[in-house]
């Protein structure tokens, strides 16, 4: 069985690499023109990279199970030989992994299939597929082994699943973009984090939470508030249960980004909680002149001496002395000096930075804590680190393509912070996992609070040009090139080749599955009614609606944009111009808040609050249920 898998994998590898090499060569020829590659052909090639993201160990410690996001499989590594011994196909875009308590079953979440693959660890075959919420990501099995908890990123909740029946018992409300889970050592609590900030008032500091679930009651019992945190990733608990650590970003989105060189755009930090801390405390991992972008994976050694944090944008692992960290935390709490923005703080507890591969994500310790495994997502390998020396002892090749094509290079550029001043941030800081960050930014150097812009989705961008909310950038090379280099990063420029690669990658980002359409593609009666409203040409009175004020006029074409810039009355006094680029509507349901500045917290508010004079389409003759129907239709686009 395993031999078959290996052969199958080799054939797949050959089939992957040859076209990849050929296409890369073609792309290199095209590079000087800085034109993006064909998204479709590139995407097909990109599927064959592996992109390892999460791992789990077999109970006997012999096998490492690696979730490969881009190849839709779980690869099994024999740790004695350091080789891949099996590939298990799972659902689309797998993202999380957990083992049953006895280790006989492996659970893999499939983010784009909305399922969990249940894998028999003995036969390494998928034996069941369980439904979840939208975009399942993190997963844990409770101590009894009877219940699975799955964090659903798009539905912002946690599915509670009965393992025996495979049925979802209930959903628990989590933070927006619920993604990562950790079970306490005593099994009593599950801690959940989320990657987008919770909804808040316009132009206020973002807030996130650590959601605490009581596994006996199977209910949320606490929400630890994380002030000014947006983008919270992995969370881990110490073996004694007294220290919890979550990796997170602290964005500085309320002041102009032009101040990058005077401070930071993002603080890369940790939230500490638990009895050791008494409440929560945010501490930075950055240094005064060097940043460690996108802290993502977290692991605490069983002896509670060391804490490892992967920094996905900085190709490194940060090593922290836990006792020094706790001493520092106690000192700061006693003196009431908040260290969250103190860039000198990390010198008190960070003991090493270990360079690893590109876009390091999952961090997993061996049961004895002597080895740390780091999934280098964009290198298709695993770094093995000796935790006593903080040195890499080996690198496990997972068998991905040996050549790096234009899309992969572009992806590597997208996820690195190397090009920003002091390594502060990369594209993926704002476009978390190539999506959004749910924030509104003061980007322009035109004064505080002027020209506020909401972060826009990157899904399926071809055919939506120009870019920026004012339509100021005619094409993607302009958007990603000089603007990003000089204006955001305030650092070195991309080469023409790099810019081409980056643009190719951004254009390749696909349209995520839409969860609001019926499986057969039909519309529900409410969605049908909404479609009629979207496409209507007359007021209810029968009077014709001027063409330019019809929904389907501006929001036309396959991406629901006519690519024009218009004044629909949504401009604010703080905007330089009320003329706004017509945004595409693909998967608009996922990208709240809305309007160019994010002032509409929901789709409803676009019309109930910000369209008093019917200048942004005609909505004031609609009844409430008709507006609801329109929104149900918009969610299907």
């Amino acid at each position: 069985m395993r031999l078959e898998n290996q052969l199958h994998g080799r054939a797949k590898w050959i089939a992957t690499v040859i076209p990849a090499v050929a296409l890369t060569f073609v792309l290199m020829l095209l590079a000087p023109a800085a034109k993006p590659a064909s998204p479709q052909s590139e995407e097909a090639v990109n599927q064959h990279y592996l992109s390892p993201i999460e791992m789990a160990l077999s109970p006997d410690g012999r096998f490492l199970y690696v979730v490969c996001q881009a190849s839709d499989e779980m690869r099994v590594v024999d740790l004695a030989s350091g080789t891949v011994v099996s590939n298990v196909p799972v659902g689309h875009v797998p993202r999380g992994i957990a083992l049953s308590r006895d280790g006989r079953q492996i659970y893999v979440t499939n983010a784009w299939s909305d399922t969990v693959s249940v894998i028999d660890a003995a036969t390494l075959t998928v034996v069941r597929t369980l439904p979840t919420g939208f975009e399942p990501t993190g997963i844990v099995c409770d101590k009894s082994g009877k219940t699975l908890y799955v964090a659903n990123r798009l539905s912002s909740d946690i599915s509670v699943i009965d393992v025996n029946t495979g049925q979802e018992i209930k959903r628990l409300l989590a933070g927006r973009g619920a993604s990562y889970l950790a079970l306490s050592a005593d099994g009593k609590w599950i801690y959940a984090t989320h990657i987008y900030p919770n909804a808040g008032a316009f132009r206020t500091q973002p807030n996130s939470e650590i959601t605490v679930i009581d596994t006996v009651r199977q209910a949320v019992v606490e929400r630890k508030r994380l002030h000014n945190a947006a983008g919270v990733f992995h969370v881990a608990l110490s073996s004694d249960g007294k220290l919890g650590v979550a990796a997170q970003l602290r964005p500085k989105n309320l002041i102009p980004l032009a101040h990058v060189e005077h401070g930071w755009a993002f603080g890369d930090s940790l939230t500490l909680f638990g009895d050791d801390i008494g409440g929560t405390l945010q501490v930075p991992i950055d240094e005064l002149d060097r940043y460690y972008a996108l802290p993502w994976g977290v692991a605490i050694t069983p002896d509670k001496l060391k804490l490892f944090v992967t920094t996905a944008g900085s190709q490194s692992v940060t090593v922290i002395d836990v006792q020094k960290l706790l001493t520092f935390a106690r000192t700061r709490r006693e003196s009431s000096r908040n260290p969250a923005n103190d860039l000198s703080a990390s010198a008190n507890y960070v003991t090493a930075r270990i360079p690893v591969g590109r876009n390091p994500r999952g961090a997993l310790l061996s049961q004895d804590g002597k080895r740390l495994y780091v999934a280098n997502r964009l290198d298709d390998n695993i770094s093995v680190i000796d935790t006593s020396t903080d040195k890499i002892t080996s690198t496990i090749d997972l068998g991905g393509p040996k050549t790096i094509n234009a899309l992969r290079r572009g992806e590597q550029l997208f996820f690195t912070a190397d090009y920003a001043f002091q390594g502060q941030f990369g594209c993926a800081n704002c476009h978390l996992d190539a999506t959004i960050d749910g924030l509104q930014w003061d980007l322009e150097p035109d004064g505080f609070g002027r020209d506020i812009v909401d972060n826009r989705s990157l899904e399926s961008l071809a055919g939506t040009e120009p870019f920026k909310w004012n339509g100021g950038n005619p094409d993607m090379p302009t958007e990603c090139g000089p603007r990003t280099e000089k204006f955001f990063y305030r650092s070195q420029s991309y080469t023409p080749q790099q810019l081409t690669d980056l643009v190719s990658f951004v254009y390749s980002l696909p349209y995520r599955p839409n969860r609001y359409r019926l499986p057969n593609g039909d519309l529900t009666p409410a969605q049908e009614r909404g479609k009629a409203i979207f496409e209507r040409t007359k007021y209810k009175s029968g009077k014709p609606i001027p063409e330019k004020n019809q929904c389907a006029y501006c929001h036309s074409g396959p991406k629901y944009t006519n690519q024009q810039q218009v004044d629909v009355g949504t401009g604010k006094s703080t905007d330089r111009s009320p003329v706004i680029d017509v945004p595409q509507l693909s998967n608009v349901a996922y990208s709240a808040p809305y309007l160019h500045d994010g002032s509409a917290r929901s789709l409803e508010e676009i019309w109930t609050v910000f369209n008093p004079k019917d200048t942004h389409g005609v909505s004031n003759d609609l009844r409430k249920e008709e507006l609801n129907d329109l929104i149900e239709y918009l969610k299907t686009l």
Binding site: G133, S155, D157, I169, K170, R171, L172, L173, N198, A199, E209, T211, V212, R217, A219, V220, V221, E222, R223, R515, Y516, A526, R601, S602, E604, E605, T608, V609, K624, E625, L627, N628, I631, E632
Partner: protein, 385 residues
């Protein structure tokens, strides 16, 4: 085929003889020691619209904030704490998740482990910000608003609105909702009762056969009145409160309760809450009433002296006064919820905690009596056929 009259009479005598011991147990009606909460001891406001028991925690919806009583201390939630509005009209608990849904005069709030999310007619699909009633049914949250009914699918975020255009609701002022697995009932103020069948997704209305007359021409032929204020659907029995009496409907027969021929202290009812198919509590403007299927009891400050009063009316209509030392905070009762054998009661001038006095055997005895009494009513109806 009709039963001969002699046999019918003999059967009735036999049934009465069988059940008679239970019918004489009016003295077993539950007694309470009442502890009352007002602003003096931490309640956010004395005008309490609704109350909800969540284990050891008590939620009180008042005119000026939502109160949470926990470990002997009151905590208040108002708009400054994130609540949609300070006037809290209705409460519902999602027992699966522990989330509390709060209907206010400014929208619907969801309180989940301390986090408050608000749904209004501007930021969501909610039909109207005045949320008189709220109820949870699986993944759905049903609301009764001043502009019809709204249903939120908590998994998809979809709102469905129900009003005069897609239901038999000729009056859109929905006042209360009682959802269950099979049916969802709405009290429509001035529009009778609406029933939603979960399986068929169809609506049906129940109206007063006398029309909008306030004179009861045909007492047990249907709903007692169009101005309904509360519904309670338990054990497949529908109980309805109106401003002109109460109704009980078992899916086939209606039975109505009026002040003149029951133990109700008033025909003006704000809320009805059933314990089971046979027992219910009635919140009236002249005290709190309990019906065990046969006997009635009323708890209140006496209307004249304002001294604590408990009245018991047995099956024969004999009313006795029971000596008590305490009473609910006020006669004007707006709602009640159960905490085991104890009660929490929302009144116009404070929140009352009714602490059950006496042993549990009497509770069991009362249950047996009430079950027998309902069997008796059913037997009587069969005989009448």
């Amino acid at each position: 085929m009709k039963m001969p009259s002699k046999i019918r009479f003999a059967a009735l005598i036999a049934i009465i003889a069988f059940f008679a011991p239970g019918l004489l147990s009016g003295q077993d009606m539950p007694r309470f020691r009442w502890e009352n909460f007002t602003t003096a001891n931490g309640l956010p406001d004395n005008h309490v619209f609704c109350v909800l028991v969540d284990g050891d925690r008590i939620w009180a919806g008042t005119e000026n904030g939502l109160g949470l009583y926990e470990n002997g201390v009151w905590k208040t939630f108002r708009p400054s704490d994130g609540l949609a509005h300070q006037a809290v009209l209705s409460l519902a608990l999602d027992k699966r998740t522990g989330d509390l849904w709060v209907g206010t005069m400014g929208g619907l709030s969801r309180i989940s482990a301390g986090r408050i999310d608000n749904f209004t007619q501007l930021n969501s699909g909610l039909s109207n910000d005045i949320v008189y009633g709220v109820g949870v049914q699986g993944d759905f949250v049903w609301t009764a608003t001043a502009a019809g009914a709204s249903r939120l699918n908590t998994r998809t975020g979809q709102w469905s609105l129900f009003n005069e255009r897609n239901t038999p609701m000729y009056e859109i002022w929905t006042y209360a909702v009682s959802p269950a697995e099979d049916k969802v009932y709405y009290a429509v103020w001035g529009g009778g009762v609406l029933e939603y069948d979960v399986k068929t997704e169809r609506w049906k209305d129940y109206n007063d056969p006398d029309g909008e007359n306030e004179i009861v021409l045909m007492k047990d032929q249907g709903l007692i009145h169009e101005i309904t204020t509360s519904v309670s659907y338990v054990d497949k029995i529908l109980w309805v409160a109106t401003y002109f009496g109460a109704s009980r409907y078992d899916g086939r027969y209606w039975h109505n309760f009026l002040q003149k021929d029951s133990g109700l202290p008033s025909n003006f009812l704000n809320q009805i809450k059933a314990v089971d198919a046979n027992r219910a509590w009635f919140s009236t403007d002249k005290g709190l009433a309990y019906y065990d299927g046969t006997n009635w009891s009323v708890y209140r400050p006496a209307l004249d002296t304002h001294k604590p009063e408990m009245l018991v009316r047995d099956a024969a209509g004999v009313v006795r006064k029971i000596a008590v030392q305490s009473a609910p905070a006020h006669n004007y009762i707006l709602g009640v919820d159960f905490q085991g054998d104890n009660l929490w009661v929302a009144t116009a001038k404070g929140l009352s905690h009714g602490i059950r006095q006496g042993g549990s055997s009497k509770v069991a005895q009362t249950r047996t009596d009430s079950a027998r009494a309902v069997q008796l009513v059913q037997a009587r109806k069969l005989i009448q056929k």
